[in-house]
């Protein structure tokens, strides 16, 4: 099955710093989502981005589907950005949908004041 790798596994930032998180996947995908899992366990949707670039405030994401990777950029980090960031992909199935999201192992981000 499709493999999803995220890097780095852990990241410590000072408040105000910028960071880039990476997601590599091993096969063609229909969809790709970025999530932030907060300390209470809730998965919060950040981006639905099978291809291209999107921005939402201090966050932006780029997916290059042909090269099988996606990047999540966090600028001017805040302590509330702390938590685990997951990339999840839905594998392509002969042009149809497989519907199951395959998650990476996540990046644990700690933003210090």
């Amino acid at each position: 099955g499709i493999q999803v790798e995220q890097s780095p596994p852990d990241l410590i930032l000072q408040e105000g710093a910028n960071s880039t998180l990476r997601c590599n996947f091993s096969d063609s995908v229909n969809n790709l989502q970025w999530f932030h899992q907060n300390p209470w366990g809730q998965l919060i949707n950040l981006f639905y981005i099978p291809s291209g670039t999107k921005q939402n405030g201090r966050l932006s994401a780029t997916t290059v589907a042909t090269e099988r990777y996606s990047l999540l950029y966090i600028s001017s980090s805040q302590t509330t950005d702390s938590g685990v960031y997951f990339c999840a992909v839905e594998g392509a199935n002969y042009g149809g949908a497989t519907n199951k999201l395959i998650f990476g192992t996540g990046t644990l981000l700690a933003v210090q004041p």
């Binding site: 229909n30 969809n31 999530f35 809730q42 997951f86 949908a97 199951k100």
Partner: protein, 116 residues
Amino acid sequence: GAGVSQTPSNKVTEKGKYVELRCDPISGHTALYWYRQSLGQGPEFLIYFQGTGAADDSGLPNDRFFAVRPEGSVSTLKIQRTERGDSAVYLCASSLTGRLAGGEQFFGPGTRLTVL
């Protein structure tokens, strides 16, 4: 409702008991998914419903696990003869459509199951 809701938020049971976990998807979403998340790992797919039918149950670990969605809205995940290894957070998600491309999935807060 405004988002996906799950009940109970926490469930503690004894080994061998039967449990039911409930998921109420976002209104109008036809696709519903169950995932399981163990400590320190990403969620893992269990089962996907399109309407009332289970379109893909390939992630269910064994026949002690079963899920239903009789009216195409609320879903119940049922676990028989629970084992300590079933302890995890069970997450439910829904999307507007599961056809063609799966659609953006939105997750509920999860049910933390602890089997003693």
